[in-house]
């Protein structure tokens, strides 16, 4: 991966240069990650934290199975600067979780083939040995998982699990680690940390467990937090609390967040940037505003039209027809073509023969989508937007 200059690798950030206000005196100027990484090679890492912290380029994750090689993630590229949240959206099997597990290096090495590049603060992670990766995991990158009930060890106290996470990366005494853990429990809003420290996960409620999980993730002050469906297992009112907590913690610590979710409502409330995945590929990528308010890919349209929202009063839902394809036998051309209601508007057979490139939606911006349709903007404005109300 030398000098990546293809459009796909560009983050959506450059479009945001003038829309993001400066915060606390720090100008949050966004840059093209390709430029940034080139700069990094010649100069030291930018101390202001403006450069993308996580850069994923052309990431491919494959699993050999009895039925053949499955490409769960195919040529995925994105970047996340510190202080920003990227939301990866997709349905089950779209590769959104697999790609973030790859960032953490959590896949079983013997059963996974990973290619491409994952750079964390300029350091390449792909190809690192298990021992080298261990030092990154939980320290610079932390992960918050979906179901706090099953993701916390049921047989160790919450305090024990948090101190353990701290002591893996800090050679400190148990007492120091305990102090740190109590601090974290307090920070994530768990009342009475001293008592809670000694309790087991099953003595916590769902929301408190997820808070403990977040405390454990953040104990080493990670620069990147990957949250994999962090609120899917929680109730609505608790979900709101946890989302607020993640937002506030990000403001306080300025970490980069990759938020994996299937819930576009959560995306709307949390994300600065959005990446939509379908069948292992990125199909649309841009700022949250671009992707949710000016989507340029029929799959994204379909997702938006499928959701019965609290506020919208559209009567009949317009689901995407059919089922997501099997990764073992992807349709030719655009993976979405068998389900796409607009495929017949593309001249010839391109949708079924050529895989569309991830191209800029308009000449200038960083909003990209993977679709052969020529007049995406006018189709959306004329047909889709009115249905969304």
């Amino acid at each position: 991966m030398t000098a990546p200059a293809n459009d796909a690798s560009k983050g959506p950030q450059d479009a945001m240069v003038d829309t993001v206000p400066s915060e606390g005196g720090v100008t949050r100027e966004q840059r093209n990650p390709a430029v940034a990484s080139r700069e990094r090679r010649t100069t030291a890492m930018s101390p202001s934290g403006e450069t993308p912290y996580l850069v994923v380029e052309d990431l491919t994750v494959q699993f050999p199975t009895a039925d053949g090689l499955v490409s769960a993630v195919n040529g995925l590229s994105y970047s996340v600067p510190l202080g920003r949240t990227l939301s990866i959206v997709g349905e089950s099997g779209s590769g959104k979780s697999v790609s973030s597990m790859a960032v953490m290096g959590l896949h079983d090495r013997k059963r996974t083939r990973i290619s491409g590049s994952i750079r964390l603060g300029g350091d390449e992670l792909v190809g690192l040995s298990e021992n080298e990766l261990m030092k990154v995991r939980g320290d610079a990158v932390a992960m918050v998982f979906q179901d706090p009930q099953s993701s916390l060890h049921p047989l160790y106290t919450v305090g024990n699990q948090i101190t353990e996470a701290y002591r893996v990366h800090h050679k400190v005494s148990k007492d120091v680690a305990k102090k740190r853990a109590l601090e974290m429990l307090d920070l994530v809003g768990i009342p009475n940390p001293i008592r809670r420290f000694k309790q087991y996960p099953h003595e916590f409620s769902g929301g408190m467990r997820q808070r403990a999980m977040i405390a454990m993730g953040l104990v080493n002050d990670p620069k990147l937090v990957i949250a994999d469906e962090p609120t899917t297992a929680l109730d609505v009112t608790v979900q709101a609390q946890i989302l607020d907590l993640l937002n506030n913690l990000q403001k306080e610590f300025g970490s980069a967040i990759v938020l994996i979710t299937h819930d576009l409502g959560v995306v709307a409330e949390m994300a600065d940037d959005v990446l939509v995945m379908y069948a292992g590929r990125c199909v649309e990528y841009g700022t949250a505003e671009d992707v949710l308010a000016r989507p340029r890919m029929p799959y994204t349209w379909g997702l938006l039209e499928s959701i019965p929202t609290v506020s919208a009063a559209n009567e009949r839902l317009r689901p995407i027809k059919g089922l997501p394809p099997s990764l073992l036998s992807l349709p030719g051309g655009c993976s979405f073509n068998p389900r796409c209601p607009y495929a017949d508007r593309v001249k010839g057979e391109r949708c079924t023969t050529d895989l569309p490139d991830l191209l800029r939606v308009d000449g200038a911006g960083a909003h990209t989508s993977r679709c052969h349709l020529h007049d995406k903007a006018s189709i959306y404005e004329a047909e889709v937007a009115p249905r969304l109300g």
């Binding site: 349905e91 089950s92 409620s205 769902g206 929301g207 408190m208 109730d235 609505v236 009112t237 608790v238 979900q239 709101a240 609390q241 989302l243 607020d244 299937h262 819930d263 576009l264 409502g265 959560v266 709307a268 409330e269 949250a288 505003e289 949710l292 308010a293 379909g302 997702l303 938006l304 039209e305 499928s306 959701i307 019965p308 929202t309 609290v310 506020s311 919208a312 009063a313 009949r316 839902l317 317009r318 689901p319 995407i320 027809k321 089922l323 997501p324 969304l388 109300g389």
Partner: protein, 351 residues
């Protein structure tokens, strides 16, 4: 299936198909306390009442532990209520014995949340769907297959797949099989317990549309249990919001969503992440509840919501507010709160 269409008679609108009165489900539990054990009671459902008219759909919404699923299971008599009445066309089935219950079982069907665990993996689809047909003697011998295929087609599956096993279908398709099984006995009421919450967004919409078609074409009444406020708004004419075993607010859909009276309903609506927030609409007022739902073993005295309520005063701890119409509410809209008042600006883009 056209012969099974029931016209919804306007005259029956006044006489409900299903009436639930003061339904309670208390589960006794034993807890170790010192050397002995103490008996405690989980008040899973504590005094729920509602009516369901033919062809109507009532949504039961609430967070986990509010008793919505337990209520659904009692109505279908998978659980026997501790007390209260379940009147189906005027007959109380709450305490009926299994034998007397059988004809009613046919009328009241349930569709479960998890399409993976609610279908027997060792039976073919045809077997799964035709078992209720045989149990209730609905189809002459030899014609089961034709009926199974008719049902599969009705729920949007390929009738030729009747010989397949559940694991050969995707989640959405399995849910359709579950629905076909419920439809097989031509029920008048279907209790749908979180029927779409295990499905992906695009598939969820397909199943929602299917349920809506069934309701419109076959006149089946639905009790729709869900935690997703969007889904409930989409499907139900009437909505009952539950909290810790009780209905705290109930009324016509538009009233509940556009002018909720109970603080809990307001908090729920406010908490639901909503696409409306980015579509150029100013962010809604946020209500954030503190903490989690208390345990149903020792629910708070008086109003059960008071421990998380920002309006709570002394009276809330001593007097339980009854579910009654409030001064500013529309017809049929009731709330159980001493300080109920409508809040209209909670959802961003109310059309």
């Amino acid at each position: 299936m056209s012969d099974t269409v029931r016209t919804v008679d306007a005259g029956t609108a006044s006489s409900p198909l299903l009436s639930v009165r003061d339904l309670k489900m208390h589960f006794p539990i034993k807890e170790a306390a010192g050397l002995g054990r103490t008996r405690k009671v989980v008040q899973a459902v504590d005094g729920v009442s509602f009516d369901l008219r033919p062809g109507a759909s009532l949504g039961l919404v609430g967070e986990s532990g509010c008793g919505k699923s337990t209520t659904g299971r009692m109505i279908t008599r998978l659980l026997t209520p501790t007390s209260g009445q379940i009147l189906f066309k005027g007959t109380d089935i709450a305490r009926m014995k299994e034998k007397e219950l059988r004809p009613f079982r046919r009328e009241l069907q349930i569709v479960f949340q998890d399409p993976y665990s609610s279908l027997n993996p060792r039976q073919t689809v045809s077997n799964i769907i035709s078992t209720p047909l045989r149990v209730h003697n609905l189809v002459p011998r030899g014609q089961e297959l034709a009926r199974v295929q008719e049902l599969l087609e009705r729920v949007g599956l390929n009738p030729e797949h009747h010989n397949r096993y559940p694991n050969e279908f995707s989640g959405g398709q399995r849910q359709r099989i579950g629905i076909a099984r419920a439809l097989a006995v031509e029920p008048e009421v279907i209790i749908a317990d979180e029927p779409v919450s295990a499905l992906d967004v695009s598939i969820q919409a397909q199943v929602m549309n299917l349920l809506e078609d069934l309701r419109r074409d076959l006149g089946i009444a639905f009790v729709f249990i869900a935690h997703d406020l969007g889904v409930v708004r989409h499907f139900c004419d009437e909505v009952a919001v539950m909290y810790l075993g009780k209905i705290v607010e109930q009324g016509p859909r538009e009233q509940i969503y556009s002018a909720p009276q109970h603080p809990y309903t307001q908090a729920l609506l406010s908490a639901a992440p909503d696409l409306g927030t980015i579509r150029g609409v100013p962010p809604k007022e946020r209500i954030r509840l503190v903490g989690d739902v208390p345990s149903p073993i020792d629910p708070p005295s008086g109003c059960r919501f008071r421990t998380r309520c920002w309006k709570a005063e002394d009276i809330c701890a001593t007097q339980e507010p009854p579910l009654t119409p409030k001064s500013k509410s529309g017809p049929g809209h009731r709330a159980a709160c001493h300080f109920a008042e409508p809040k209209v600006d909670l959802t961003a883009a109310t059309a």
